[in-house]
């Protein structure tokens, strides 16, 4: 048994870094803080690679399955004797894999930001927030129990809020950050309710107990039914709601495109590689329950994923802001992962989808981070987000160009790049379980290739625009991460995921199925070709298409008016038709009643003042009548 106690530093270091930079940074070493943050993260990266090596290659397996290892664990808050929040680190294949992803991408982004954010106001604030995010994200993936996950889930939410709103004087950024926080918060409400239901029925938060395939949780899960579905299903659906929010699945996706208001490195780290896949990770973490105890919930996962991927891909074809295009492609790729989980089963060859999803998560982190960082370099050079203001950049930004191309090929699923392998696995899994979903994903693969190369061609090729100052290649601090990630895209496809990360920890035999792989490559190439025809050949096809499918195009361009719908619900319903009436009611009914009582008292006291008329004889009359009344009352009526 290997000692993993040092993993506690993977928590503590970034947290200390956050406090340190946050409290002292702006006073004492504003410039240095970037270096400090990066070094701190480098250390963590090394630690996590060591952990990964030790876990995968030196820890002993039990009948061929990787074991879940509790590195350390202490009670943070005791609710009841059974229910208590622990803070700890749980090592199993997916969490270790996530460690690698997070630290790698995060390190790249740190280095990149050294150049990108140079001279920005609040440089040290930026890095302290980044550290906060790393802390929360690592805590999330290492969580030993669902409540710890919720805690860090909230924390990544807030750090994303802080980073999106980094330019806090820019109204659009403020609005975007607010939106992101509230939307995810609403989703987290579902998560919390899910936790409550789950814990009420299973009397535990602990992942190992919960996800033990033969454990009590799964066994009694399908017991009590409520409104037709088993309690466990309900709780899983609610929990998944949280995932939907964090991973920007339909219908909670609206915050992601706006989140692009944040600095580009942030988009690369949080809104492409790490935080947005938390939802996928959550479902993967609870996977045994989904697969064995709540199949309905698992179907929900699959369909939501599929729909979101299609939905996002369509929108992505129409956007002109490159970061928004990338945002939608992120959404669509995550839809892939969700779908893959949704079609998977527990254990054996059923678990293919699970493995594929994790695999795609890994590769996606690489190429999407690369795409964003590349986009960052482009924006850095051109000072604009819009493709329409770009073109022929390949001669100005050679490195960016190459790396970007690699990324596009990867996402389009062209061998030998990593995207090909992971996507192929997903398609295979879908094909074996559900033909409709397979068809959808197949189409989406084509769309993906199309819109990515639409982006690529119109930025790096196409018409040559005369920029008022000639764009120049980014500094080394920015290009090195690009290159590293590009290499990642090349090699990560050959990592034997089927041996490392599987639903039940055992090795899963799977090989490329040509009858699925070849068509997927073909449709990828098809998409690229169309994009080439439309955006390199200077043709008028796009406009024609836009003209012919006028309404479809308009709808897609306006993201199918989902934002407007939300705006209507919040502004009109919540504000105007609930809270304003509540406030009115409080002032004019409840409060008025209280004041009314006082008013009535005053009024009565004014009415009866005639009694005190100042006439002696009236007084005497009242006296006598009073006496007689009392006499009558007590002699005859109330004896």
């Amino acid at each position: 048994m290997i000692n993993f106690n040092y993993t506690i530093w993977i928590f503590l270091l970034p947290f200390l870094m956050f406090l340190f930079l946050g409290l002292a940074g702006h006073k004492y070493f504003p410039r240095l803080s970037g270096i400090l943050g990066t070094c701190g993260l480098a250390v963590i990266t090394v630690l996590s690679y060591i952990t990964a090596y030790k876990y995968f290659f030196t820890s002993e397996k039990v009948d061929g399955a990787y074991q879940k290892i509790i590195a350390f664990n202490f009670t943070w808050l005791q609710f009841t004797d059974k229910l208590h929040i622990d803070i700890g680190a749980l090592l199993d294949p997916i969490s270790v894999m996530m460690l690698i992803v997070i630290t790698t991408v995060s390190l790249m982004v740190h280095i990149y930001s050294l150049g990108y954010m140079k001279g920005e106001k609040g440089f040290e604030r930026f890095f302290s927030f980044l550290s906060l995010f790393s802390f929360s994200m690592l805590g999330l993936v290492l969580a030993t129990n669902i409540f710890q996950m919720y805690i860090f889930w909230e924390l990544v939410g807030v750090s994303s809020f802080l980073l999106i709103g980094f330019y806090y004087q820019k109204p659009s950024a403020v609005r975007a950050s607010k939106k992101a926080f509230i939307v995810t918060r609403f989703a987290d409400l579902g998560f919390l309710i899910g936790i409550l239901i789950l814990s009420f029925n299973t009397k535990t938060f602990d992942f190992i107990t919960l996800t033990n395939p033969t454990g009590p949780a799964i066994a009694q899960g399908s017991g009590i039914a409520f409104l037709g579905l088993s309690v466990m299903t309900w709780s899983m659906i609610f929990v998944f709601m949280g995932g939907v929010g964090k991973s920007a699945m339909f219908p909670f996706h609206i915050w992601l495109p706006d989140a692009m208001e944040g600095p580009t490195p942030v988009s690369a780290l949080i809104h492409a590689a790490t935080m947005v896949v938390a939802g996928v990770y959550l479902v993967a973490r609870m996977f045994p329950i989904y697969a064995l105890s709540a199949p309905v919930a698992l179907n929900v996962v699959a369909y939501v994923g599929a729909f979101s991927s299609l939905f996002a891909a369509v929108i992505a074809c129409t956007q002109t802001d490159i970061k928004r295009v990338l945002a939608y492609s992120t959404m669509s790729q995550i839809g892939y992962m969700m779908l893959a989980l949704g079609v998977a089963g527990y254990g054996g060859h059923e678990g293919l989808g699970y493995m594929a999803s994790m695999f795609h998560l890994f590769t996606h982190a690489m190429f999407k981070a690369l795409l964003f960082l590349g986009a960052g370099a482009i924006i850095h050079a051109v000072h604009s987000n819009y493709m329409t203001e770009m073109g022929g950049l390949r001669k100005y930004l050679p490195i960016t160009h190459i790396t970007f191309l690699i990324a596009c090929l990867t996402i389009a699923g062209i061998p030998p790049f990593s995207g090909f392998f992971s996507k192929d696995e997903i398609l295979a899994a879908a094909f074996h379980s559900n033909k409709i979903l397979f068809a959808v994903e197949y189409a989406v693969a084509g769309l993906t290739a199309f819109y990515m190369f639409r982006l690529y061609f119109s930025v790096f090729w196409g018409k040559d625009i005369n920029y008022h100052q000639t764009p120049h290649e980014a500094p080394a601090t920015m290009t090195i991460p690009l290159i590293v990630l590009a290499v990642g895209c090349l090699v990560s496809g050959f990592i034997p995921f089927n041996k490392l990360v599987t639903s039940d920890g055992k090795i899963l035999e799977s090989e490329i199925e040509l009858m699925i792989a070849i068509p997927s490559v073909l449709i990828g190439l098809l998409g690229i070709g169309i994009a080439y025809l439309m955006y390199v050949k200077e043709s008028a096809i796009p406009d024609k298409l836009a003209a012919t499918f006028k309404y479809g195009y308009k709808w897609a361009y306006n993201k199918f008016y989902i934002d407007e719908l939300y705006l209507f619900v919040t502004k009109k319903i919540i504000f105007r038709y609930i809270s304003d009436p509540v406030a009115w009611f409080d002032r004019h009914v409840v409060d008025a009643t209280m004041n009314g009582i006082a008013g009535i008292t005053q009024g009565v006291s004014f009415r009866i003042r005639g009694l005190q008329s100042g006439q002696l004889q009236k007084y005497a009359f009242v006296f006598i009548t009073g006496a007689i009344m009392l006499a009558i009352l007590f002699i005859y009526l109330w004896k």
Binding site: G614, L616, Q617, A620, I624
Partner: protein, 105 residues
């Protein structure tokens, strides 16, 4: 030692006197008359006491004494009252009770 008149007569007389006094107190406008009607009330009380004493408890004289004291007190009361009435007349130049209502509400 019973005379011809039964007790009830006295009681009825006293009651009538009492309410006559009250009526006077409530209706008369002249302060002096009001004072007189108070005397009427007190005298009705005296009659009560005396009659009860004489008829029901002849061996003790509590009622008698009591009525004596009532008369005395009534006299002193009247004295003070009249003094004040004189003062009222000085101040208001009237002894009509209705005009004596500077203070009200």
């Amino acid at each position: 030692m019973n005379s011809g008149i039964p007790l009830q007569y006295f009681l009825i007389l006293a009651t009538i006197m009492f309410f006559a006094g009250v009526y006077g107190f409530l209706t008369r406008r002249n302060l002096i008359t009001i004072l007189m009607s108070v005397e009427l009330i007190l005298n009705s009380v005296n009659i009560n006491f005396l009659a009860f004493n004489r008829y029901l408890y002849p061996h003790k004289l509590e009622g008698m004494f009591f009525s004596l004291f009532v008369i005395a007190v009534a006299a002193s009361e009247a004295a003070v009252a009249i003094a004040i009435i004189i003062n009222i007349y000085r101040r208001f130049t009237t002894i009509n009770v209705e005009d004596v209502n500077e203070m009200k509400f």
